[in-house]
């Protein structure tokens, strides 16, 4: 835990939940696991306030609890611990809401927002809050469809009572249960076996694709067809959908799912990070090649989205070329994306893929492109992204024109390296960035070899190496030439330690975000009387009551606020690229 991370977390908690909750969370972040008594003592608040604050924090997943036996009497003491990872997500809420609105529509974002604001909530309660009982039937059906889509896509997940228990305590408890089965004390090997088994069990649970909290509600009619009332294509009228022909534009499976109204749900932030990561990946390819390459990768990621749970997944499912081409939107910018140069290779592939399929519904889309030409260009672009040096898109087989897979491990590394290289380039200069790339490529080198590879004078190279080491972006490794490890007779090799590099960048990011918040507070505080004046009823009704200088001040405040908030969002995007999307660091 960095002090900068702790400061930023406290600042975010104050903004979301207020000063009392901030005090309680701040003590937990600073002191670690604490029982209630110590928490009350350290916060110097009343017991009631501390308990209320803990309820809020547990409700929002910031704090978890665990009971353990203590003392000779074996009394149960509950310990509370804070999870700053959840707190830091608060910075991304705007992005999450935009993402949900884009995919789920207004109804979906209304449900999502209500659950997000309340931490954990049952769907029935969400509907009460939204007042959906007073809506029209069509609107209610749309709301139900959006809710079931949110659950099915895992944007919200069902909450079990054990979800608020600290994870490590659950693991220890499970281990204790296994150890109790043994007659004698376990050997090291047995203990390792038990831990591996528990780990595998946790992995299986993670890989479980069952969606909790949703059930199919089908009504069969006498003739065996399933019919149901669904919203028509115009979004307002209701039509009866016959199971034989379905309703136009409505997916039959969506209308069959019903969400359990009494089941509590919470927002699944880790799942939403997948979409943010995918967007960054699309931008990576679009910047490196062109919009067509970005469209291909976007299509591939779209197919994998449903099967990718969180950023922990290292590989995607295997995709066929046909799937990718079918997923491409009609307006994908393929026409000017790649010059195949009348390459027979791609023409033959396209011909075999589209044989007998010339009247496919994709015909005529994307300007004057025929389906065969479109397929040819898609093939060519797939090969271009596959040949990329980062190795993100991998061809696993040649069946059916080719089968591809996305390697998210390499994707996370590529995005992280790009982010850090840009940071070093902007902060220190192009020559420092060159040294970083040399070390990343060549692993451990002494300063002479670095100077030779980077083509710079050795004195300048030495200075730059020390600048980077001071900032934490590179590290040194000593090899002694003598037994007494005399420093003057040692080899010093420079290398890049990715974990240390990430930690250095994260410290900068956390501290900068805290500074931005502090500056925002200052800008608001400096104009607090003016802001209070604008909230007066008479001024709110008639803006002409403000003088010109006051209006200018308000405009300046708005501009400053926008600039600072955008800066924070960008910094958070960098944090995502550098740390959160890495499979090692992504949580469940």
């Amino acid at each position: 835990m960095y002090i900068e991370q702790a400061n930023l977390s406290k600042r975010l908690i104050r903004e979301c939940y207020g000063p009392i909750v901030e005090t309680v969370a701040g003590v937990l972040i600073r002191d670690g696991r604490l029982p209630l008594g110590l928490l009350i003592k350290n916060t110097k608040l009343s017991a009631r306030e501390v308990k209320q604050a803990l309820v809020v924090l547990i409700q929002h997943g910031v704090v978890t609890h665990a009971a353990s036996k203590e003392g000779a009497g074996g009394r149960m003491v509950t310990y509370y611990s804070a999870n700053t990872r959840v707190v830091l997500r608060q910075q991304r809420l705007g992005l999450y809401l935009a993402l949900v609105e884009e995919r789920m529509g207004k109804e979906g974002v209304a449900v999502f927002r209500t659950i997000m604001e309340n931490g954990i909530m049952a769907i029935g309660t969400v509907k009460e809050r939204l007042g959906s009982s007073e809506w029209s039937q069509a609107a209610q059906i749309k709301l139900d469809a959006a809710t079931s889509k949110l659950v099915r896509e895992r944007f919200i997940v069902a909450v079990a009572p054990g979800d608020t228990v600290t994870r490590i305590d659950k693991t220890m408890e499970a281990e204790a249960v296994e150890l109790d089965k043994l007659a004698v004390l376990p050997t090291a090997k047995e203990l390792l076996t038990i831990r591996r088994m528990l780990n595998d069990r946790a992995e299986q649970e993670y890989s479980n694709t069952t969606v909790v909290g949703i059930k199919r509600a089908a009504e069969e009619e006498a003739d065996g067809h399933v019919s149901k009332v669904v919203v028509g294509p115009d979004g307002r009228t209701l039509v009866v959908a016959n199971g034989a022909n379905g309703a136009d534009g409505i997916n039959g499976s969506e209308s069959q799912d019903t969400v359990d109204q009494t089941q509590c749900f919470r927002v699944y932030y880790d799942r939403l990070d997948v979409f943010l990561r995918n967007q960054q990946l699309v931008n990576y390819f679009a910047d490196k090649y062109n919009a067509g390459a970005g469209a291909i990768v976007k299509a591939m990621l779209r197919i994998t989205e449903s099967r990718t749970k969180t950023c922990r997944d290292r590989r995607s499912e295997i995709l066929s070329v046909a799937q990718v081409i079918n997923q491409l939107p009609q307006d994908a910018p393929l026409a000017d994306a790649v010059d195949t140069g009348s390459d027979m290779f791609f023409q033959d592939l396209a011909a075999s893929a589209t044989s007998g399929n010339d009247t496919a519904k994709g015909g005529g889309g994307n300007g004057a492109l025929t389906p065969a030409k479109r397929t040819e260009l898609a093939f060519a672009l797939l090969e271009v992204v596959r040949a990329d040096a980062a190795g993100i898109v991998v061809k696993v087989d040649d069946r059916g024109g080719g089968q591809y897979q996305l390697n998210f491990d390499r994707a996370a590394s590529a995005l992280r390296d790009q982010s850090l290289d840009t940071l070093v380039h902007e902060k220190f200069g192009s020559l420092h960035a060159r040294i970083v790339r040399v070390l990343r490529d060549k692993q451990k080198l002494d300063e002479k070899s670095v100077a030779t590879a980077a083509m710079m004078p050795i004195a300048a190279c030495r200075e730059r190496l020390h600048d980077l080491a001071l900032a934490g972006f590179i590290d040194s490794y000593e090899i002694a030439r003598t037994v007494d490890r005399n420093p003057s007779r040692m080899f010093y090799l420079w290398y890049i330690n990715p974990q240390k590099q990430t930690r250095a960048a994260m410290r900068y990011i956390f501290k900068s975000m805290t500074n931005v918040f502090a500056r925002l507070d200052k800008e608001l505080a400096a104009r607090a009387p003016l802001v209070a004046k604008t909230k007066r009823a008479d001024v709110a009704a008639d803006q002409s009551l403000l003088t010109d200088s006051e209006k200018n001040e308000l405009a300046a405040l708005s501009a400053a606020q926008t600039r600072l908030e955008v800066a924070n969002v960008r910094l958070d995007g960098m944090l995502l690229a550098v740390h959160d999307i890495s499979p090692e660091h992504a949580s469940f």
Binding site: E383, A389, A454, R519
Partner: protein, 308 residues
Amino acid sequence: MAELEAKIYEHALKNSNGIDNDYLNDALPEHTLEDIVNGVNRLLQSGQLELLQVGRTILYRGVHRSEMERMSELTSDERLVYKHIENSGGEGIWVRTLKQKTNLLQGVITRCLKVLEQRALIKSVKSVKHPTRKLYMLINVDPSSDVTGGPWYTDQEMDSDFIDQLARQCYQFIYAHSFPRHNTKAVYSANHTGYPTSSQIKRFIHENRITNVDLSTANIEELLAMLVYDGKVERVAPVFDMGAGGGGRPDAASNPRTDWMYRALRVNVRDSPLTDIPCGRCPVFDRCSDSGAITPAKCEYFKKWLAF
């Protein structure tokens, strides 16, 4: 005997790599081995022949008259030092190494070097790899590129301007061949083989007389590696000959493509979120905190940035 010695001397001069007893036996069948060996010994004593050892083989090499005259003026220590310097060739030899090899005292070596320099037989050069060391080599020998640093060094200093200009020319050439001319937003397909190789870039530099300095392919590859590390260019794996034996496998017998190709990357102006705000370039970032003299609330850089 003089005639035999003259013949032996003539054979030794003809073969600059040295001759051995077997060669002389074959070349002079009319003389016995004993006579030949005696003749060799006399020539060795007079300094017209010198001994070489290659592995376990003893060879004799002829010493030219001019060299003999030079060496005759030198003492045995000076001759020893001279021989070691001569053997180092273009790499030169350091005083400490000389001391290790000759086992002479430091003062003796210093005196010998001074005499040899005065007689214009050796010279001292500085190495770019070890700037504090003085290397000695024969006066008529050109220092190797390891010592001078190659084409990138001028007067023992790295010529960064020259390197940058040359790199820029190479990058422009690579960029012009990396994207289709009719549409610069497009990219070539993965099978494209028209990206420039290091030999093509070398030819471009030579034909356009971009520089007078003689550059080898290895030098060009060093420059291209620098461009790769700058993130401007990437190396593309060579495409194997598709016509070689089917299956696209490389066949050493039929003109394999071993040159790496180089492709320019689109350089998009990208700024880091950290350096976009004043904190990223602040000289007192580490001393900034919530309280004290340096705080975000009092920060002048923030004030200017927000007013910009």
